[in-house]
């Protein structure tokens, strides 16, 4: 109970308004501005990486130089000057903290403000293990020991590169190749840190694994790299949540997440994304260009993406599933809320390769203010996907009359036995609903929050309990100022 109460209190505190506009003053160990082979080498050297990792990065960097930034998404932003960004910033470390006691007090203070109760980990213990990412380097990984005793590897990807090179080598880039797309390729070249999870054969990971992200250094591009592998029959539920401090400059965030599920394995990946969206005009908000993809490699494997997207000035994100194993299944549950000047182009791709593969897409988009959002989804049934099935439901809700919602479904079927269903609706919060709620005493903002939460319920209820509470509050906060 204690842990739940703590979580609930935390959530209440952090979600009442966007409070994360504070900056921790920790001397940074920074790479000079700009991007070049030297910078890539600097990052790799700084992280004491083996030669093969450096090769991986350089190959990506050289390929990146040949690519052009994509412009097909329905988003607009000023050109990004990639030479005007820092690619590496690490909190200064002495000799690497052996325990929490050695962690920089300022850093702990930041966590406190963020509401990650590191010092109360003992309480939260059984529920969530936090591998907290501060800026680009993991400084504290908790509960690793307990998980390790069961054979679960949960830690930073930097550590994994050193300690489990055979696993990282085998899977890194196996789902999202270094040449995949502009932002993913950039990530391959300069990623600084992220999480690595490996769940061995037959094990159901007993706790939800969680990472809190936070962008801190001024002007630092944040390039997370996450790799999750579930062996045969294994299961893991992973939670990712983000907050970021208020900034004047635009901040680029280009993460790559790769999931691999072998035979009968299941991965559940939940995100609550609340990057700083910028001011009313979108100034200063985060650019979130993310590549997330899962490979359902084995038969009967299953991957489920749930995302609640409320932040960022610009979002470009399509968590996808490649359904390779026969009878494998992929799910995508999404709530995307845009307000003020936010722009989001988000959706999923379900690529059916194996026989009797199944996918389910439930997308709920809420646009308010003068924001604009697009659901972009691809369902592809390949020639060998005998008996494959997809169900897609895309609902959009408009708040006010200056926002936009667009649905762009791509459906490709190369197998006559495959079935694809697509349903889409667009609606508005009605005056009648608002008045009904207000006649019961709710102010306009609470009324909108309540109605929108109802609209998203189908997705929110797929989130783990603690996250669901946070997400519900976020929904309300994200829409503040959207009416009246």
């Amino acid at each position: 109970m204690a842990a739940t109460d703590t979580t609930v209190d935390t959530v209440r505190e952090v979600t009442e308004q966007y409070k994360y506009g504070f900056v921790t003053d920790i001397e940074s160990d920074m790479a000079p501005k700009g991007l070049s082979e030297d910078i890539v080498r600097f990052i790799s050297a700084k992280k004491e990486e083996p030669e093969w990792m450096l090769e991986f990065r350089l190959r990506a960097y050289r390929h990146w130089l040949t690519l052009k930034e994509p412009d097909w998404a329905k988003v607009k932003y000023p050109p990004i000057d990639y030479q005007d960004t820092y690619y590496y910033a690490a909190p200064k470390k002495k000799d690497g903290p052996a325990s929490l006691d050695e962690v920089d007090a300022d850093l702990l203070e930041t966590y406190k403000k963020l509401g990650i109760p590191i010092q109360e980990q003992e309480i939260l213990a059984g529920v969530v293990a936090v591998d907290a990412v501060f800026d680009s380097v993991s400084v504290a990984t908790t509960y690793k020991k307990k998980l390790a005793s069961m054979g679960v590897i949960f830690g930073s990807i930097s550590e994994a590169i050193k300690e489990h090179p055979e696993l990282v080598k085998k899977y890194l880039g196996s789902v999202v190749p270094y040449s995949d797309n502009y932002f993913a390729t950039l990530n391959c070249a300069v990623f600084t840190d992220g999480s690595f999870v490996f769940v061995p054969k037959g094990l159901r990971c007993p706790m939800e694994l969680s990472t809190y992200f936070r962008i801190n250094e001024k002007n630092t591009g944040q390039f997370e790299r996450t790799l999750i592998v579930c062996e045969e029959g294994a299961y893991v539920s992973y939670l990712e949540g983000c907050t970021a401090p208020q900034r004047d400059e635009n901040q680029l965030h280009a993460a790559v997440v790769e999931l691999v599920a072998l035979d009968d394995a299941e991965i559940k990946y939940s995100t609550v994304q609340n990057w700083y969206p910028g001011d009313k005009n979108g100034k200063g908000g985060i650019y979130n260009f993310v590549t997330k993809r899962a490979l359902c490699k084995g038969k009967n494997s299953k991957v489920s993406w749930t995302q609640v997207e409320t932040g960022s000035a610009v979002t470009w994100k399509y968590p996808s599933c490649i359904l390779q194993g026969d009878n494998s299944s992929g799910e995508f549950y999404s709530v995307a809320i845009t307000n003020n000047a936010q722009q989001a182009d988000t959706g999923t791709k379900m690529i059916h390769l194996g026989k009797n593969t199944r996918s389910r897409i439930i997308s709920k988009g809420i646009a308010a203010g003068k924001s604009d959002q697009t659901y972009r989804g691809l369902v592809r049934m390949q020639g060998k996907a005998e008996g494959a099935r997809n169900f897609t439901q895309c609902d959009s809700l408009l708040v006010g009359d200056k926002c936009g919602a667009h649905t762009v479904p791509y459906i490709e079927s190369r197998n006559p036995t495959a079935q694809v269903e697509h349903e889409a609706t667009t609606s508005r919060i009605s005056e009648e609903q608002l008045f009904y709620c207000m006649q019961r005493g709710l102010n306009e903002e609470s009324a909108v929050a309540l109605i929108v939460n109802g609209f998203c319920k189908e997705v929110l209820q797929t989130l783990p309990m603690e996250f669901a509470v946070e997400a519900q509050k976020l929904v309300g906060i994200s829409l503040e100022g959207s009416v009246g």
Partner: protein, 251 residues
């Protein structure tokens, strides 16, 4: 002090004047019925009192416990104790009825600077009211009004009324869409909430609701004004003679 004092009220919707100098005083404990032909301004009256967007007061005043309602937003009027049982309660998909009730109660508490209701206390209150109004438990687990029958919607509205404990209960065409059994059940619910400190304003087209919610005063609204007032026997008279006489008078 009167609970509700309406004086020389003129109000319009989209440039069209609907209420043309209406006066009405309601004291605590009283039950008033407003009757009248279609288009007389009955629903406009309830919309103006509750602050529905789009209804504009051009002249006169509406005071609730001495407070000028024109200065209060719809939700503030609700928190002050004005409750409207809707002619057509609105569906809110995905919002569980219990959550809705709790949110409404907490909104009112917040308005008065009180703490949120304790979860156990809330459940206890809800259970007691459900029992009082003979409402099925499972209705509370469903989304607000979604898939409810006409009778269920009205009963659920009465339950909200019981939970929120308002001072003035406005019943807008409560009988519409209800068969006689459903009407009796809803009206019984209303009657259990009657008390000396609460008043009811019953807006209806037909007399039959008044067989169950018996009024102290009946007013005839025609052409945007109250053209006749009397006791409960006036309702019976109207039932017999119709509104023609008043319509002509108003015109």
């Amino acid at each position: 002090m009167a609970l509700l004092a309406i004086k020389d009220l003129r109000a319009r919707v989209e440039e069209k004047e609907i209420l043309k100098g209406l006066s009405l005083t309601i004291n605590p404990g009283e039950v008033h019925a407003i009757m009248g032909p279609n288009g007389a301004g009955k629903s406009t009256l309830s919309s103006v009192i509750t602050g529905k967007p789009g209804y504009e007061i051009t002249e006169g005043s509406v005071l609730f416990e001495g407070k000028d309602l024109a200065e209060l937003a719809a939700n503030e009027r609700a928190c002050e104790g004005i409750f409207l049982a809707f002619q057509y309660p609105v569906e809110i998909p995905g919002v569980n009825y219990t959550t809705f009730l709790k949110t409404a109660i907490n909104a009112k508490r917040k308005y008065f600077g009180e703490e949120e209701i304790d979860a156990m206390e809330f459940l206890k209150l809800m259970k007691s009211k459900i029992k009082l109004l003979k409402i099925a438990d499972d209705m509370m687990k469903r989304p607000v009004n979604v898939g409810f029958s006409g009778g269920e919607k009205k009963r659920a509205d009465v339950l909200q009324m019981a939970m929120l404990d308002p001072k003035l209960m406005i019943l807008d065409e409560m009988d519409s869409g209800l068969d006689i059994d459903a009407l009796r059940i809803a009206a019984d619910g209303v009657n259990t909430l009657r008390s000396p400190d609460k008043a009811i304003l019953c807006i209806t087209h037909y007399q039959r609701l008044l067989d169950y919610v018996v009024p102290d005063f009946v007013h005839v609204l025609a052409g945007g004004r109250i053209v006749k007032s009397g006791g409960k026997e006036l309702a019976l008279e109207l039932e017999e003679k119709g509104y023609t006489e008043f319509e002509n008078a108003a015109a």
